[in-house]
């Protein structure tokens, strides 16, 4: 039984391997990049728009509204990062309807890479927003004693992000594989439909958590750093 698409090896030359994770990730990236390029090629501000432009506008304004609701006042600055995260994860789980496809997020390497992106992006946005000193000072809040715990929470929440996404996506394929041996035919389809829902919820949660962490890092001093920091 396979745990992750890492174990599908399509091509190997020496120690250079081309496994399923890499191929599916690049495929998704290609679809996203070429798709958005094609759609945004002839945008119109007229009343009459192409239906793809309408779709993209709905998605973008939806993401912007969610980011704003989390507590980031200028969503445009964070749209590139958070929107890409969400779209990639959503497409990765939506594509599971294609036969032969396995979500690349079912591999711990992919989710760890995404979580590392969040780990790097949070301090960058924080420093950009309130300066190096201001950002570093936020680690020593409410007192200096909390400094090591704040650093630990930074690391442990990155681990949690990676493991959560990996576990959810991996469990979907795993349960399907087990069910196919026990009750083939109807029941796996129902579980697949449930897997689509879980995938969307996980994509939403991953990007909303990234937004919450960024909001906690960019919030000006004095305001309470509430819920976002305590979570691990």
């Amino acid at each position: 039984m396979r745990l992750s698409p890492d174990e599908i090896i399509l091509w190997q030359y020496g120690f250079v391997k081309l496994n399923g994770t890499i191929v599916f990730t690049w495929g998704l990236m290609l679809v996203l990049a070429v798709g958005s390029k094609l759609i945004t090629r002839n945008l119109s501000t007229e009343l009459r728009r192409s239906r793809w432009q309408n779709l993209l506008e709905i998605v973008i304004t939806g993401i912007q509204k969610q980011i704003e609701d989390v507590g980031l006042p200028h969503p445009q600055k964070y749209l590139g990062f958070l929107g890409t995260l969400f779209l990639f994860l959503a497409l990765a789980s939506l594509c599971t309807v294609i036969p032969g496809y396995e979500p690349p997020t079912g591999s711990l390497s992919t989710t760890a890479a995404l979580a590392l992106c969040v780990l790097v992006a949070v301090p960058l946005f924080g420093i950009k927003e309130q300066g190096l000193g201001g950002y570093l000072k936020s680690y020593a809040e409410p007192t200096v004693i909390m400094l090591p715990f704040n650093v630990i929470s930074e690391l442990s929440r990155t681990l949690a992000l990676a493991i959560r996404l990996f576990g959810n996506m991996m469990s979907g394929t795993m349960i399907l594989a087990i069910l196919l041996t026990i009750t083939p035919f109807i029941f796996p389809i129902a579980m697949r439909a449930l897997g689509l829902l879980t995938g969307m919820v996980q994509a939403y949660i991953f990007s909303i958590l990234a937004a919450v962490y960024i909001a906690a890092a960019t919030r000006p001093q004095g305001e309470a750093r509430t819920d976002a920091n305590a979570k691990a």
Partner: protein
Amino acid sequence: MDNVTLTAIASIVTAGLTIAGGSIGPALGEGRAVATALSSLAQQPDAATTITRTLFVGLAMIESIAIYCFVVSMILIFANPFWNHVIAQTAGK
């Protein structure tokens, strides 16, 4: 019983216990969270978007504990690190 059998028994039993114990706590927690969210939704339907978003994030937090247990039990069954060690030891003998 040799070491390989003992390792297999320990891994399988531990995997079962992990997922059993690890699903009870988050299940109770999620039930409480959803119940509270539903009652606050009934009291304040205007705040539905905020409550739903916070609920989802909180549920993900709670659920991640169950997911950790699941990952640990899957590792114990399918990618057991002790397995190779024991087999190498037996083969070396």
